[in-house]
Symmetry: C2
Subunit: 129 residues, 2 copies
């Protein structure tokens, strides 16, 4: 997705998180920093989230394996839950766990909108925000 469109989606999600009792920040230089970093970090004290954000016109979203391993590494160090947040245009926000990703034949990773309600935690999160 374009950089501007991506930033707008991040700002929208930050706003949703604040509206649900989380303190949330966008991360500066995520993806270009020398350290692994997610797009958004949020916490309400009982739940700490490291969020990678995407927006797409399709009903699935690809991720690079390297991006996912960086998200998981960051989350382990920060003691946060890694979350993939995808805004499917006209369908809204859906939340996934890295465990929901499936390998494609070309060794990319993909999540499908229809799989968004797999994890109990993510259902809880969806209800919260």
């Amino acid at each position: 997705m374009g950089k501007q469109k991506g930033s707008n989606a991040e700002r929208e999600l930050v706003q949703m998180l604040w509206g649900s009792g989380f303190a949330a920040v966008r991360v500066a230089g995520s993806g270009v920093s020398k350290y692994p970093s997610p797009d958004i970090v949020a916490s309400n004290g009982s739940r700490i989230l490291a969020i990678e954000c995407k927006t797409t016109l399709k009903d699935h979203q690809y991720f690079h394996p390297e991006q996912i391993s960086q998200l998981i590494g960051f989350a382990e160090q920060f003691k946060a839950t890694p979350i993939l947040a995808v805004k499917f245009t006209n369908k809204g926000w859906f939340f996934f766990s890295p465990e929901d990703l499936e390998k494609t034949p070309s060794h990319n990773l993909v999540i499908k909108r229809k799989d968004a309600s797999k994890g109990k935690f993510l259902l809880d999160l969806k209800n919260e925000i």
Copy 2:
């Protein structure tokens, strides 16, 4: 301080935090976002930090009361410890609690380098990073 100098100091502190077992990120648009946000958020699981960063040539550093109340508000929501991190040029980094701030006659807030070792928590932090 200048914006570039401030960003460099923030990057230096992020690097120090990673080197001490914290996952740390710089916050995008801190100070201009519609939500209160610190300059850096860091966590090692047992300790979560919301950090406001400054660098100065003097032996004291002023803060605006509004900036401090925003830091404290963010930290409460995120369940983080609010930290004032000041790099005194040629003296290195010193860490303060908002409680270390003193009111000036003109209603600003100030911390002095000589008061950096007041709080036990902050001594611990200094030993860690």
